[in-house]
C-alpha cells in the first residue's frame, strides 16, 4: 500500500493557455516515446521527425496529400462525434464506410453514366449515405426497442460489412468486380461523371470541401435545430427527455442513422475521389476506427475535428511519402506507431488537462489516535 492516496480532482478553472498547451505537450511526449523506439531500432529520431514533417506539411504536394487523407477522417470523426456526445457509442463507422463504398460505387457504375458530373457525384454520395445508414439501422432498432448494447452490434456489423465487401470483389463475379482483368481481382472503375474533380494536378479533390461543408452542417444541426436540442437532452438524461415529452426512441434511432450516413459518406468520398472503384484493400485502413479517436481528441467539436483529422492525415501521409524519399531509409511503419502513441498520449493529456492529480496523506487509525492524544 502506498503511504498516500492518489486522487483525481476536476479542475475548476480552464485558462486558455492550458487548453492550448495540453495537446502540444501530449504530442511532444508521444514523440519522445516514439523517439526512444526509433533509437532502439537504430534510427536518429531527429532526422526521422524532420523527414516526417517535411513530407506532409511543408511542400505543396505534401499538404494536398495530407488533406486528401484527412477528408474521410473528417467524416468518420463527425460520425462518431454526433453520437458519442449523447453517450451512444456507434463504433461501427468502419463498417458503415464499407457499405457506403459498396452503395456509392454501385450508384456510380449504374446511374451516374451520362449525367453531368455534379449530379453523377451527388448520386454516389447519396447512395453511400443510404448504405451507411442502412448498416446502422439494425443496431439502432435493437438499441431502441430491445435495449441491446450498440457497442457490440455496431462492431459486429463492421466485420460482416468487411467480409461482404471482400466477397463482392474477391469471392464472386459481382457487378462491382472488373471481370475483364484476368489477373488480380479488382473493382470495376466508375465512369468520370461519378468522380470528384481534383484541384489542379494534385490528388486533392472536392470531397474535402464537401466534408468541411458537412462539418458546418452538423454543427448547425446540433446548435440550432430542435432535433439537435432533443439529442442533447436525450444524451444528458434519457429520463428527463422522456418526461419532457421528447421521443427518446426516435431520437436515438435518428442519431444513429445520421452517424451511419456520415460513415457511409466517408466511404463514398473515397470511391468518388481516390479509388474510383470498390477497392477493399484501399478501404480497409481503419479510417472508421481512427475517426472515433479523432472525435474524442476534438472533444466532439465539429470544427476541431477538421484540424485533428488534418494532423492525423499528415502523419499517415508521411508514412507513405517517406518510402519515396532519398537518403536514410525510414520505415513506413514509423508513422503507424507514432499515430498510435500520439493518440494514447492525447487521451491521457486530455484527462490531465481537465483534472489534477492530488496526493493526500493516508491517515491510519494509529495516526489519528496519535494526533488526538498529542
Amino acid at each position: 500500500m502506498l503511504p498516500f492516496n492518489v486522487r483525481l480532482e476536476r479542475r475548476m478553472d480552464f485558462p486558455w493557455w492550458r487548453n492550448a498547451l495540453t495537446p502540444f505537450l501530449s504530442v511532444l511526449a508521444a514523440l519522445i516515446v516514439g523517439g526512444a523506439f526509433l533509437a532502439i531500432e537504430g534510427f536518429n529520431p531527429i532526422t526521422v521527425y524532420r523527414a516526417l514533417f517535411d513530407a506532409s506539411f511543408t511542400s505543396k504536394f505534401g499538404i494536398t496529400d495530407t488533406l486528401t487523407l484527412a477528408t474521410p477522417l473528417i467524416l468518420t470523426g463527425l460520425a462518431a462525434a454526433i453520437v458519442f456526445r449523447m453517450n451512444l457509442f456507434n463504433i461501427g463507422a468502419e463498417g458503415q464506410l464499407y457499405l457506403g463504398a459498396i452503395f456509392g460505387s454501385w450508384a456510380g457504375l449504374t446511374i451516374s453514366e451520362g449525367l453531368p458530373t455534379i449530379l453523377g457525384v451527388t448520386v454516389v454520395l447519396i447512395a453511400g449515405a443510404i448504405g451507411g445508414a442502412l448498416w446502422a439501422l439494425p443496431p439502432a432498432l435493437a438499441k431502441a426497442y430491445l435495449g441491446t448494447s450498440e457497442i457490440i452490434t455496431t462492431l459486429m456489423f463492421t466485420f460482416i460489412g468487411l467480409f461482404l465487401m471482400k466477397y463482392l470483389i474477391f469471392g464472386s463475379n459481382s457487378a462491382w468486380r472488373d471481370t475483364e482483368v484476368a489477373n488480380f481481382p479488382q473493382g470495376r472503375k466508375i465512369p468520370p461523371e461519378a468522380r470528384f474533380e481534383a484541384f489542379g494536378n494534385t490528388r486533392l479533390h472536392w470531397g474535402l470541401i464537401v466534408a468541411i461543408g458537412i462539418a458546418i452542417g452538423i454543427w448547425a444541426l446540433i446548435r440550432f435545430t430542435s432535433l439537435g436540442f432533443d439529442m442533447n437532452v436525450v444524451g444528458s438524461s434519457p429520463n428527463a427527455a422522456a418526461y419532457a415529452g421528447i421521443p427518446v426512441r426516435r431520437t436515438v434511432i435518428i442519431a444513429l442513422l445520421i452517424s451511419g450516413a456520415l460513415g457511409g459518406l466517408a466511404g463514398a468520398t473515397e470511391v468518388a475521389g481516390r479509388a474510383f472503384a470498390l477497392d477493399p484493400n484501399g478501404l480497409e485502413l481503419g479510417i472508421g476506427f481512427t475517426g472515433i479517436v479523432v472525435a474524442a481528441l476534438a472533444r466532439y467539436n465539429p470544427f476541431a475535428i477538421i484540424f485533428v483529422a488534418t494532423f492525423l492525415g499528415g502523419i499517415r501521409n508521411a508514412g507513405l511519402a517517406l518510402q519515396s524519399l532519398p537518403g536514410e531509409r525510414v520505415p513506413v511503419e514509423v508513422s503507424l506507431m507514432l499515430q498510435g502513441a500520439i493518440l494514447l498520449f492525447a487521451i491521457g493529456g486530455e484527462v490531465f488537462g481537465n483534472n489534477r492529480l492530488r496526493l493526500t496523506r493516508r491517515v491510519t487509525t494509529a495516526d489519528a489516535i496519535a494526533e488526538a492524544t498529542a
Partner: protein, 311 residues
C-alpha cells in the same frame, strides 16, 4: 475414420480455437471487472511479435510464450492506466491501444517479416487414446497449449464462481459503489484484471506464431482474431466454459472450407468468416434484451468508469 476430411477439419478447428479462446478468456476477466478493452487485437499483435523475437533469439519455446504473455500484460497496463486511473473513455482508449499495437508491432517486426521460426509447439499423441474414433484426434492429439487453455478456462470458472476474490471481481463489475463500500479496492481489482486480460491476449498472440504458423506477418498473424475474441465473450455470455465451446465453433468456421470443398459444397470463404459476428448479433438480439441481460451475465457496470466522489 480418423483420417477423413471431416475429422481432420474438426481437429484443426480445435487448434484454431486455442488463440481465440485464450484472448477471449482474458477479455472476459477484464469485462467482469467492468472494463471493456477493445485493444485485444493490438495486445495479441504485441504478444506475437515479442514471442517471435524472443523465440528467435533464445530458441526456447516456453521463454517465448512467457515473453509474449509479459508483452501483452505490459501493453494492457496502458489501457488500465488510461481507463481506470485517468477514467478516459474505455472505447476510445481501447481502440487507440489497437492502433498503437498495430503500428508498434509492425515497426519492431519489420526485420523479421516472413522469416521462419525454428521452434514451435507440436501435437503429441496420447498413445492408444489418440486412436479413439473422433475423440482421439480432437482431444488426445493436440499440442500442450490446447490442454493449458482448457485448464485455464476451468480455473477461471472456479475462480469466478467459487472464490472470495472472484466474488469481489464480479461485485466490481456489477456495482463498483457497493464493492467499494464492502471494502473492495475497486481500482486495484480493475487494474489486475485488465492486465490479466493482456496476459491472456499476449499468450494467444504468442501461440499464433509459436503454434499455428511459425512466422510473423503483420496482417497475416492475427487476421482479426482479436475482434473474434471480443465477439466470443458476448456469444459465450461471459461464461468461461462456454468460451471454450464457442471458440471451437468459431475455429470451425475458420477451418470448415477444407472439408466443405471436399464434399462439393461451395460456401464462399467470406460467408464463413462472417459467421462468428452474425451468430453473436443473433445471440445478442434473441437473448440480450433488456430484461434478460442479467440472465446472460453482462456485467452491469461494463464500460463505466468508477468515481468515488460522485457516488
Amino acid at each position: 475414420m480418423n483420417d477423413t476430411a471431416f475429422v481432420l477439419t474438426l481437429a484443426a478447428s480445435v487448434a484454431a480455437a486455442v488463440p481465440i479462446a485464450l484472448a477471449a478468456l482474458g477479455e472476459l476477466l477484464s469485462e467482469k471487472a467492468g472494463v471493456l478493452n477493445l485493444g485485444v487485437e493490438g495486445m495479441m499483435l504485441v504478444g506475437a511479435v515479442t514471442a517471435f523475437q524472443i523465440g528467435d533469439a533464445t530458441g526456447s519455446l516456453w521463454l517465448a510464450l512467457f515473453a509474449g504473455a509479459l508483452g501483452g500484460t505490459l501493453f494492457a497496463s496502458i489501457h488500465a492506466f488510461l481507463s481506470v486511473t485517468l477514467r478516459a473513455n474505455q472505447i476510445v482508449s481501447g481502440l487507440a491501444l489497437t492502433i498503437f499495437g498495430t503500428g508498434l508491432s509492425t515497426f519492431i517486426g519489420k526485420s523479421i517479416e516472413g522469416l521462419p521460426l525454428a521452434t514451435d509447439f507440436k501435437p503429441t499423441a496420447w498413445g492408444p487414446l489418440a486412436d479413439i474414433p473422433l475423440l482421439g484426434p480432437l482431444l488426445f492429439n493436440q499440442d500442450p497449449m490446447f490442454y493449458a487453455t482448457v485448464v485455464f478456462a476451468l480455473i477461471i470458472a472456479f475462480y469466478l464462481n467459487r472464490t472470495r476474490a472472484g466474488l469481489a471481481l464480479r461485485a466490481v463489475g456489477e456495482s463498483p459503489g457497493t464493492a467499494d463500500t464492502m471494502g473492495v479496492a475497486v481500482g486495484a481489482v480493475r487494474y489486475v484484471h485488465v492486465m490479466l486480460g493482456g496476459t491472456f491476449a499476449g499468450m494467444g498472440g504468442a501461440y499464433l506464431v509459436l503454434g499455428q504458423v511459425p512466422a510473423w506477418s503483420q496482417d497475416g498473424t492475427t487476421a482479426g482474431i482479436g475482434w473474434i475474441a471480443l465477439a466470443l465473450v458476448v456469444f459465450a455470455s461471459w461464461k468461461p466454459l462456454r468460451v471454450l465451446l464457442g471458440a471451437f465453433l468459431f475455429g470451425f468456421a475458420r477451418r470448415a472450407n477444407f472439408w466443405l470443398q471436399g464434399e462439393g459444397v461451395e460456401i464462399p470463404a467470406e460467408f464463413l468468416a462472417m459467421l462468428p459476428y452474425a451468430l453473436t448479433v443473433l445471440v445478442l438480439v434473441v437473448w440480450g434484451t433488456r430484461d434478460l441481460r442479467r440472465r446472460i451475465g453482462a456485467p452491469a457496470a461494463l464500460g463505466v468508469p468508477y468515481i468515488r466522489d460522485e457516488r
